[in-house]
């Protein structure tokens, strides 16, 4: 290294030093200790005692843990694709030249500003089985359908019914897709016009243009949003926690991995066990991100590559 190079290295490191300190103190150290604590009996009040893989063995036979894993995966499997479809559809519609476009965009974006706790309190009320807006809007529709089809459908008592509670949380989440709508819309506006113009000359219709031009060109944005959605949904905590008053919901239907981790850490002071859940949560997220990246290498199109 020349003198000049060394000086630049020192200056560069000096500028990034706030992050470097935080990286080691609040990222590397906690991550390494989390793995170590997951191999310990640890209550924060007394020093950790190494017990090998016993926490993991206990997790393996802990039905409550499997429930939380199942609930988390269920939530992610439905919430991420539904969110993708809803936000992308809204963005595609907004991308037509429509009067009041800016106002629509603002309206779709607003709910994503609502703090999680407010979101949970509001939707607990929205989804109230008898008095809530959702069922009071759904009942007349179901009534008409039942008359027409001779069925006997009724609106569920969302958060009090183990079969529907997770759907309640999924719908609550859909209200906040505005963030993704704004990101997709920006992506759509970056699609080069000449692609559509030449497709028009070839006589391509709306769907052909969407499938062969729009989706491939914005696939990096879809990839980015999906990864963010993955990381977000796997740590879902605040909304179900508030909606259940800090509980697990009917038949533990609203117990998620982050909830179970929190309960073990701060209700039972079972910190080692909590860390083992955290390690598994992290591994699941890593594996799925890796999988998504592998898939994206085949399907994501990067202009200029």
């Amino acid at each position: 290294m020349t003198k000049n190079e060394r000086r630049r290295l020192a200056t560069g490191l000096l500028f990034i030093s706030p992050w470097l300190v935080g990286f080691f103190a609040l990222c590397v150290y906690p991550l390494v200790s989390s793995v170590y604590f997951s191999l310990c009996d640890y209550s924060v009040l007394s020093p950790p005692v190494f017990i090998g893989v016993r926490n993991y063995q206990n997790l393996w036979i802990d039905n409550v843990f499997w429930t939380s894993l199942y609930n988390t995966v269920f939530f992610a499997v439905f919430a991420i694709p539904l969110g993708l479809v809803v936000s992308l559809s809204l963005a595609v519609l907004l991308n037509f030249s429509i009067p009041g476009k800016g106002i629509f965009r603002t309206i779709f974006f607003l709910p994503s500003l609502v703090p999680m706790v407010c979101l949970a309190v509001l939707w607990q009320w929205m989804l109230n089985g008898e008095l809530g807006l959702v069922n009071n809007a759904a009942n007349p529709v179901l009534h008409v359908l039942n008359d027409m089809l001779g069925t006997a459908w009724s609106a569920p008592n969302w958060l009090q019914d183990a079969r529907y509670a997770k759907w309640g949380i999924i719908f609550t989440g859909l209200w906040g897709v505005g963030n993704a709508v704004v990101i997709y819309l920006a992506g759509l506006q970056d699609v080069p016009r000449y692609l559509y113009e030449s497709a028009d000359i070839d006589g391509a219709g709306f769907w052909q243009k969407t499938i062969h031009i729009t989706i491939p060109v914005i696939s990096p944005v879809i990839y980015f949003n999906s990864i963010m959605g993955l990381i977000g949904t796997f740590q879902v905590f605040a909304v179900p926690f508030v909606m259940t008053n800090g509980g697990d919901g009917p038949e533990r239907s609203l117990l998620f991995m982050a909830t179970y981790l929190y309960e073990n850490a701060f209700a039972y002071w079972n910190m080692g066990y909590a860390c083992a859940i955290g390690v598994i949560l992290f591994l699941v997220i890593l594996a799925l991100t890796w999988l998504a990246t592998k898939l994206s290498e085949k399907h994501v199109y990067y202009a200029g590559k």
Partner: protein, 280 residues
């Protein structure tokens, strides 16, 4: 699609679809405000009425009184917002400068490390971080909630770096030839040119701190130190879901500052959010 004239009928259909979606997105807000102005018995009448028979403005002062420390909560939230905004803007700008305007060996490898840290969920590191702050004697104080913001957030660094990279290299070179040090270039040339980006980071951090729930939940122990988000949750769990008119009034009060802030800064807000997803 902007090319080829869209058929007027199709345009009308799209407009109707968007209008219906807009109604669905606005309905919960309207429902919240409507409930917050009803007398208790009307929150339980069926079918629900949108307009209360007599508008109960009094629900708002009553909700504030029932929450006991409402104004303290608001003050605590505001204090944390100010501290974390200062912290993240200064530290993230410095870090982003180091990752974009200076060339040094290993820089791009370190940047990948920084990006990778965005994948670590807070619950995964929460226990050791709690232990660390406990050893420092910080549990039950505000410090765990604002001190970390002075160590830059990966997301904000990423966002600012994108902006810093758009500025031509020549302006730094010219300043270096004139004998400016890096810190002078940073303070006098780059920062003033990046005010919009700094505003976006400040806004996103404000939102994050205002909305944060898990952090205050584990680090704050004294009810008087709660933030508004945590105070609202504690109010809700005391209520056990009965006084919906008061809960909706309280929720409205917690959401309102965010909405007001948004309307004053709308452009930089949505532009900033769009940037996070598309310029990567």
């Amino acid at each position: 699609m902007k090319t080829a004239e869209t058929h007027p009928v199709l345009r009308a259909l799209i407009f109707v679809a968007l209008a219906l979606a807009a109604v669905a997105f606005l309905a919960p807000f309207a429902w919240m405000v409507s409930t917050s102005l009803k007398p208790l018995n009307e929150t339980m009448s069926l079918p629900p009425k949108w307009i209360p028979s007599s508008v109960q403005w009094n629900n708002y002062p009553e909700a504030i009184a029932e929450m006991r420390y409402f104004w303290r909560y608001a003050g605590n939230s505001l204090f944390l917002c100010v501290m974390t905004v200062i912290g993240t803007v200064t530290s993230s700008a410095l870090t982003a400068y180091g990752f974009s305007r200076i060339e040094w060996r290993g820089r791009d490898k370190w940047f990948l490390v920084l990006l990778a840290t965005m994948m670590i969920p807070f619950p995964v590191i929460m226990v050791p971080v709690y232990g660390l702050f406990k050893d420092l004697g910080w549990i039950g104080t505000f410090k765990p909630l604002w001190v970390p913001s002075f160590f830059a957030s990966a997301f904000n660094v990423f966002l600012l770096r994108q902006f810093f990279l758009t500025l031509p290299k020549d302006i730094s070179e010219a300043a270096r030839i004139d004998g400016c040090s890096e810190i002078q270039i940073f303070l006098r040339i780059i920062l003033p040119l990046c005010r919009p980006a700094l505003l976006v980071v400040a806004l996103l951090q404000f939102l994050f701190t205002w909305n944060d729930f898990l952090g205050p939940l584990i680090f704050l122990t004294n009810q008087r130190d709660f933030t508004l988000a945590l105070g609202l949750q504690s109010f809700q769990s005391q209520q056990g879901g009965t006084s919906w008119h008061l809960l909706m009034a309280a929720s409205t009060l917690v959401i309102l500052p965010v909405i007001v802030l948004f309307f004053f800064t709308q452009r930089s807000f949505t532009d900033g959010i769009a940037t996070t997803g598309t310029k990567s």
